[in-house]
Structure formats: C-alpha cells, structure tokens
Subunit: 310 residues, 2 copies
C-alpha cells in the first residue's frame, strides 16, 4: 500500500513533491541519500534531507535549490567578520534545523528519529527516511585527490575532474530499519532523477538495501536525470564525460541495469524507446512547474502499475 | 605598567569601557568571570566575555545589556517552530561568535587563545582574559535546589530564593597563564561593580588567583555594586537579603575584606566614608553616560595612585 521514492536533493525533491501531491502521506515514503551529510561548525548537516524536507513543507528556496525561502544571512556575515569558514552558506533560519538535529543526535536519537521529529514539526506526515542511521560519507576521487563531497560540490563548485567515487563507511552501515519495515507493503519504487553517482549509488551501497528492494518484488522505475545528453541540474553529465562514458539516457539505463525494471525517458530521448533492453516510457520530464511535477509523478506511478501487470 | 580589571557582565563592562577609553590597550587587561559559561545547543557560550567584548568593540546592545546591537532573531523563531529550547536568546549575528569560539576550542585552542583571536577580529587589542582556561561552573543553591547559573539567571529570572553558591570545578582550575604573566607589571587592580557573589567570587575561587593578585603588591580597589541599599543592575541586593545580610555598601566592604585595599562608595553612601575600616573614596558611581564611565574609571585609577602613595 505504499510507494517509495529514492532521492537526493534538488532534482529528486522536485519529483518527490509531485508524488507527495498525488499520494496520501501514509502511502508514500522517501529514502534519502545521506552520503552528502557532513559535520560543519559542529552541526550535523544533511543537505539532501533538508532540501527534501523544505520542499515538501513548502518553505524551500526555489531560486537557489537549497535552503529556506525568505532567508537572511546575518550569521554568515558575522562569521565572515570573525574569520570563520563561510564557503558553506548557512541561513539564519536554516541553522535552526541543523542545531535541532544535532542536539537530538547528541542526545542519542537516530537520524531516522530526529528526522521524524523535525518533519512532524514542519507539518509533514510522509515517512522521510535516511538510507541508513549509520554514517556513510561520499568521497569524490578527482585528479586533485579525494575530496569530501561538500568540498567537491560546494567549495570547489564541481570543478575538479572526477575519477571515481567512494562511500566511506558503507560497508559497516545498515539500511534504515523503518525502510525495511515498509517493504512488505511496498507497491513500487521510484528512483528520482537525481545524480546516479552521488545521490542514488550511495543509497544502493548500503549493504542489503538494494537486495531488499529487489526482493520485495515491487517494480522499480527510474526517471532519467539525463535529457538530450545533458543534466537538467548539477554535474551528472560532466561526471559521465570525465568518467569516459557517454552522457546519455542510454548510459543511465546501463548504470541501473539489473536494478531497475523500467526507465522514464524524456521526449527528447524518445528515439531510445524500445532500444535499451528494458521497458521504457517517454514522458516530458523537465519539471518547470508544479503541474509538471505532478504529471511526471503520475506517469511514474502509472508506469509502475503497468509493470505490475495492472 | 598595566592595570587589571576584574569583571562580570553588564555592570562591570560599563566601567571596563570607561577604563578602555582612558588607558592604552597595552596598559589594560581584563580578568573575566567564566563561571557563567555553559554549553547550549552545542555551543560554548561565555556570557560575561561576550558582553565585555561587544561593549569594548562598540557593538553591544545597550538596551538589553547583552548581545549585539541591530540584532535579528530568525534563528530563534525557526528554532521555536521546531520545538527547540529558546529560553536563552541567541541572536543571528551573536551565534557567529559562539560558533567560532566553539570550533576553536574543539580544535584544541584554550579559551584564552580563542578569546584573543576573536577579540582581535573585532579590532580589540586589550588583554581580555578568562579567569581560567579550565571549566568552572557557578551553581546557585536555592530553596528549590541547585540551579546552573544560566537557569537561575535567565530561565528562572532570578526568582528562586538563594541559599548559597558553589563554583563547581574551581578546585581543579588554574588561573589563566596570561594573567599570571601580567602580574609583575601590574600597577593596580580594579574590581568592577559586578555582582560579588556570582561575578567576582568565581574569579577569586580559582586556586592561587587571589593570592597571586595580592602578592603582586598593586593596590586593589573595588567599586561598590550596591548604591543606597540597592543594586544598580541585577540581583545583588536581592541575593544579599535572601542570604540574610544587609544589602549595603558596608556589607560589600565586609565581603571583600582582606582582599581589597580600598572601596569606592557612591555619593548616596557618603555617610559610610571613614567608617568601614578600610580606605574609601566617594564618587558618583551610577554610570548613565559614557562620560560617567570615563569619570568613574579615572577616579578608580586615581584612588589606586593615592593608595600607592603617589
């Protein structure tokens, strides 16, 4: 009786919002990448969880794609004057979420529990689940050496040339228990159009998670984050080029082969339909408006229904 | 070639500013109460250091007596919405100081070093010294049981009836090394009109500090925080009543007897002049204007000079 969405930050959260608008809270759970999480200024920052949470709560900053709307930056300005680290921008109101989460974790709560408490305070009833309560940290291997994800992504603005990825701690991590508890009632899984390498792969790197998703028998459909050879947002296409693979939706299918049961291609990639050796469906997948988000979400659910033989 | 001022927060910082305006930075050091310090929201908060620092830097909030001027409260509002603890008000810009200090302490800096770095960033060249780099925590014993200082002072607004004080950790604390290094050139010590029980006594409770101050031979003069039987600011008089001692400047003399070499009385207490068994000087000591602060600071230095036989 439930659908699960695997998601990273901004791109995934867009489709997540579409799903949230057409499904009851009890019928939708999110499995969120926490490979981006990091400790900064003593705070546990969970960028993908935050982007999703703010998006679902209707308080996200749609201009930046991260943080809160109507944000102020007094803390950052004062920190800069004191010589502090300001490459990672923390808004005055945004800080409250990081502080609250950090305090709960310090008091012994799991990340799942802290997220549940915080999202409830923001009026959200969806299951928003970290991929794991254990720390997994994405390292981006680059021509300049390994970089912690936020250093690569935010501080260095994705400029270093990528040579590979590592999910430090993954081998010792367990899937979020609440996720495993949802699988028996799972009707379908949507892999949001997030970055396959640094948003979805960290989720799938948690031992047992991928197997459990497959074992539950629900169809797994992905929405290609590559449209017409380019990323809608973020460094996906750049990473593919640097890794020496084609930056195409076909390559996305290749990347997820064996895991997904179907792939949604954008209309620009309609030519690939029927050529990828797995079920595909062609849908406009660039989500500019709220209606676009809802339509694509509906198409993903419909595709799942079709794959279930409904 | 240097004067030292022992101080707590608001009342002491007023006289501190007066001293700072008439002495060169190299000729003035502050020994600040850190018994009020506490960990809150993962931050090391040092209220008396902050009040003094902001006051000297000209960015204090003179309306509240704590925090920064032109402050905003977005963090607090967002924290409240998330169900966080908001009884201790942290302004958006103020947060930057707490975060910076906390990060430096975590990285292994002493409180003295962190304070030096932060005050330099704020353009201050005075030696602003914590009484100790070791944790000392003032506990207020009350009819309702023991309370951490900020719980008594801020959360409970000084309402519980005081029965005594405890400076937890003092027995294991050492005086700030930079303070000890200044003593050979110390010409005089000013005990600011701070609360004797919870601002000055914690300083004097650090083993060896009081003895070292006395041993340096410089005159020690206090400015009475009690004027005409009342406190200028804060709970000093209320505490004295609850402790069953007269809330008078004479009792302040009694409290400091054996430590101070002279006491400055307000004009309202001129009748006590010559009656206290120690040198006294009568000065207007209610500091409303900046000129008042400078005048009282000048009087304190003049009194020291007089006691030195200059």
């Amino acid at each position: 009786m439930a659908f699960l969405a695997l998601t990273g930050g901004i791109g995934g959260a867009k489709l997540g919002l579409g799903l949230a608008r057409i499904l009851d809270p009890g019928a939708l759970g999110f499995v969120v990448n926490t490979g981006d999480d990091f400790e900064h200024l003593g705070l546990h920052i969970s960028p993908d969880m935050d982007t999703l949470t703010y998006t679902l709560a209707g308080i996200s900053n749609t201009a930046t794609g991260w943080g809160r709307r109507d944000e102020t930056w007094r803390f950052m300005a004062a920190l800069e004057a004191l010589g502090g680290e300001t490459w990672f921008r923390l808004g005055d109101a945004d800080m409250a979420l990081h502080h609250s989460r950090t305090e709960m974790l310090k008091a012994g709560a799991s990340l799942t529990e802290a997220t549940r408490t915080l999202s409830a305070k923001l009026g959200l009833a969806y299951a928003i689940l970290p991929m794991s309560d254990d720390p997994v940290r994405t390292l981006v291997h680059t021509a300049d050496g390994p970089l912690a994800f936020q250093h690569y992504f935010v501080r260095d603005r994705c400029r270093p040339q990528v040579t590979g990825f590592e999910f430090a701690g993954a081998e010792a991590a367990s899937p979020c228990p609440d996720l495993l508890a949802l699988l028996p009632v799972c009707e379908g899984v949507v892999v949001c159009p997030s970055n396959p390498f640094v948003s979805i792969d960290p989720i799938l790197a948690v031992p047992g998670l991928k197997t459990a998703l497959k074992a539950c028998g629900a169809p797994i459909v992905a929405v290609s984050p590559i449209v017409g050879g380019a990323s809608i947002k973020g460094p996906t296409a750049k990473m593919m080029r640097e890794l020496g693979v084609p930056s195409t939706a076909a390559q996305v299918a290749e990347h997820y082969r064996g895991f997904i049961d179907g792939l949604i291609l954008d209309a620009q990639d309609a030519g690939l339909h029927g050529t990828l050796g797995l079920p595909t469906r062609v849908e406009p997948s660039v989500m500019a408006s709220l209606a676009d988000r809802e339509r694509l979400a509906g198409a993903a659910l419909d595709f799942i229904k079709e794959l279930r033989g409904g």
